[in-house]
């Protein structure tokens, strides 16, 4: 299909696959709404399907029927390779120039000289912790990887969580990169067999500590409320919601650094509503969305001006808190492939998938 060369009349709707919390119309909290104004201005009704993992997003896009997806780096290349998404004509997006330069040609959406989407939002996978169990912020991811006695005198066993997605192997690799330099890991997404095995071993040890893996942001919130969880890799989103509910939690990026995500709004190759899609992409960059969403989700806008120009609630300090300046510390999610840059032969993603199921199953 040819790229669009001009934007026509809106089709009346646009169907988006998004991470939970990414597209809010004021239903959860009336203050956070970046949909209504778009619908009023363009007449394009926004239909959202939330997906909890990157795999789910890929599956939904493969199934079809959607126009846009807020894909993380571990999904975007797969969809490009699978020809599920189409290149976008950035000349049709007037605000493109305002995008963070660090993201304009990021490898997870800029392939073969083509832009496959507009950057949406990025952020770290933070370490969330209960401030009662940790009167002082933990400095290392070790609290979720290794058995430790916490400040309240009890072991962390059974009181920590980990993400229920294969990409969590990268978190383990990231931890090893810092603590076992002899393995020679250069990127947590490019692991040779030996490095990979070491990461899995670390995760098998973690299995003993984790009573339930988190899969769904809201279930993790429940678990921190009702199950006595004290530490877990998490998203700023959950941290914010829990804080709002009065639960004593806080978050930190520990010394090892963190993995993170940088999401891109990508357009389905068979999109039935391309005009509305382009309008939405422009909206994501130009409206209050970048600013308010970065507050709501605790993430960083792809448009640096959104931190300061007062189009939404975000402020310069807020952006700093969210890690706007930590870009370099964050290892952004990408899909592990077998032919990798750093060491030629790496363990590919499909092995990550089945092995991580094995780890959770206790193998």
């Amino acid at each position: 299909q040819e790229m669009l060369t001009e934007i026509g009349e809106g089709e009346g709707q646009v169907n988006i696959v998004a991470w939970p919390g990414y597209i809010e119309r004021g239903e959860t909290d009336a203050a956070f709404d970046w949909v209504t104004s778009f619908e009023e201005a363009t007449g394009c009704k926004v239909n959202v399907k939330t997906a909890n993992t990157s795999d789910e997003m890929v599956a939904l896009m493969n199934e079809g029927g959607f126009d846009l997806v807020t894909a993380s780096g571990d999904a975007s290349l797969r969809m490009i390779a699978g020809k599920r998404v189409q290149p976008v004509n950035i000349s049709l997006i007037p605000s493109w120039d305002s995008v963070d330069d660090r993201l304009k040609e990021a490898p997870w959406h800029y392939v073969g000289g083509m832009h496959y989407g507009t950057p949406y939002m990025w952020g770290p996978n933070v370490l969330m912790y209960n401030t009662e169990a940790f009167p002082e912020a933990p400095t290392s991811w070790s609290v979720v990887f290794e058995e430790t006695t916490l400040a309240d005198g009890e072991s962390n066993k059974g009181r920590v969580q980990a993400y229920d997605g294969p990409i969590h192997i990268a978190d383990a690799a990231n931890y090893l990169m810092f603590h076992k330099p002899e393995l020679g890991i250069t990127s947590p997404y490019e692991l040779n067999q030996e490095q990979y095995d070491a990461a899995l071993d670390l995760l098998r040890g973690q299995r003993e500590l984790v009573s339930r893996y988190w899969h769904d942001a809201f279930i993790q919130i429940d678990d921190f409320k009702n199950e006595g969880m004290v530490a877990s890799g998490s998203w700023p989103f959950q941290v914010n919601l829990l804080k709002a509910d009065g639960v004593p939690v806080a978050s930190v990026i520990p010394e090892e650094g963190a993995t993170g995500w940088a999401d891109t709004t990508m357009m389905h190759v068979d999109s039935e509503n391309p005009n509305c899609s382009y309008m939405w992409m422009e909206h994501t960059l130009s409206s209050n969305l970048q600013s308010d969403l970065s507050v709501w989700f605790g993430a960083n806008p792809s448009v640096p001006d959104a931190c300061t120009d007062g189009r939404g609630m975000q402020t310069a300090e807020g952006c700093t808190t969210n890690g706007m300046d930590d870009f370099e510390k964050i290892k952004f999610w990408q899909t592990p492939v077998s032919s990798c840059e750093s060491q030629g032969e790496c363990v590919p993603y499909y092995r990550w998938v089945s092995d991580y199921i094995g780890v959770i199953g206790g193998r």
Binding site: P20, N47, E63, F218, I219, K225, N226, D245
Partner: protein, 268 residues
């Protein structure tokens, strides 16, 4: 008949079993009135009836409810027709495939719902059928057939074949016999089967997840709500209302099928 009383151990076991089956349900009722809407604090800090009002005001509840009712009604109607036909065929004759037919009817409920769901979903996908009201109905009717079938087949078995012969003997042709003898005799069984089918469809979530696309039936709404709560007690209010409302068809089904052995099977 048997006059001795139940042994104490049995009474205790039965009572404990029943309690086990009901306490969690009562809990829902309690939580429907709690003043605490964020966590599951126990015992609840206070009680209020405001959630009933809040529920009443929520349009998404109503939309889901209406969709569920429509789906259940139509699936039940289809299941009634198919189940009765099947039961009639199976009970009337001893043709070679009757075993196969009963197996076929039982299969959608004997195989895990997720399999039915995935099969239908991938079949819709292959056949390029977009999700709609009818795709939900298709899935529901498939597993509702068995409930109607079981009720109808039991009644057919008890309704002695000589009634039909008696009717024909007295001058009624096949259609008249159906109208005046068969239908009145199986009506209560069909009603009971229909009610159970309705309740089954109304509460179904697993198959529906796969055949609903973006539509929300009440159970799907609940799944979303329970996982991503906006106002937790609203979910409990809805659950309580649904439990109270399903009580009626269940009672109805019980009174309709009770003691029918003596009426329909006289002389045998």
């Amino acid at each position: 008949m048997h006059s001795d009383r139940a042994p104490l151990a049995l009474k205790i076991a039965a009572a404990a079993g029943l309690a086990f089956m009901h306490l969690p349900i009562l809990l829902i009722f309690v939580y429907a009135f709690t003043t605490e809407d964020k966590s599951y604090q126990w015992p609840p800090p206070g009680f209020t009836t405001k959630w009933i009002g809040v529920t009443w005001e929520r349009p998404d509840v109503w939309e889901a409810l209406v969709l569920s009712l429509k789906v259940a009604a139509i699936s039940t109607a289809i299941a009634l027709v198919l189940g009765t036909l099947c039961a009639a065929a199976v009970s009337r004759t001893r043709f070679f495939g009757r075993e196969v037919v009963s197996l076929l009817v039982i299969l959608p409920i004997a195989l895990p719902g997720i399999i039915t769901g995935i099969s239908l979903r991938s079949a819709f996908h292959l056949a390029d059928i977009p999700f709609s009201f009818w795709t939900i109905v298709l899935g529901h009717a498939t597993f509702c057939v068995v409930v109607v079938y079981n009720n109808a087949v039991a009644r057919f078995r008890r309704t002695s074949g000589s009634l039909i012969e008696a009717s024909m003997d007295l001058g009624a042709d096949g259609f008249q016999t159906f109208r005046y003898v068969i239908l009145p005799n199986i009506a209560t069984a069909l009603l009971a089967g229909g009610m159970l089918a309705f309740a089954l469809s109304f509460d179904e979530v697993i198959v529906t997840t796969f055949t609903a696309g973006q539509q929300q039936t009440l159970p799907i709404w609940m799944l979303e709500e329970l996982v991503r709560p906006r106002e937790r007690p609203v979910t409990n209010v809805v659950a309580m209302m649904v439990a109270l409302v399903t009580l009626l068809p269940i009672l109805g089904a019980y009174y309709l099928t009770r003691g029918t052995d003596t009426v329909a099977g006289q002389g045998k």
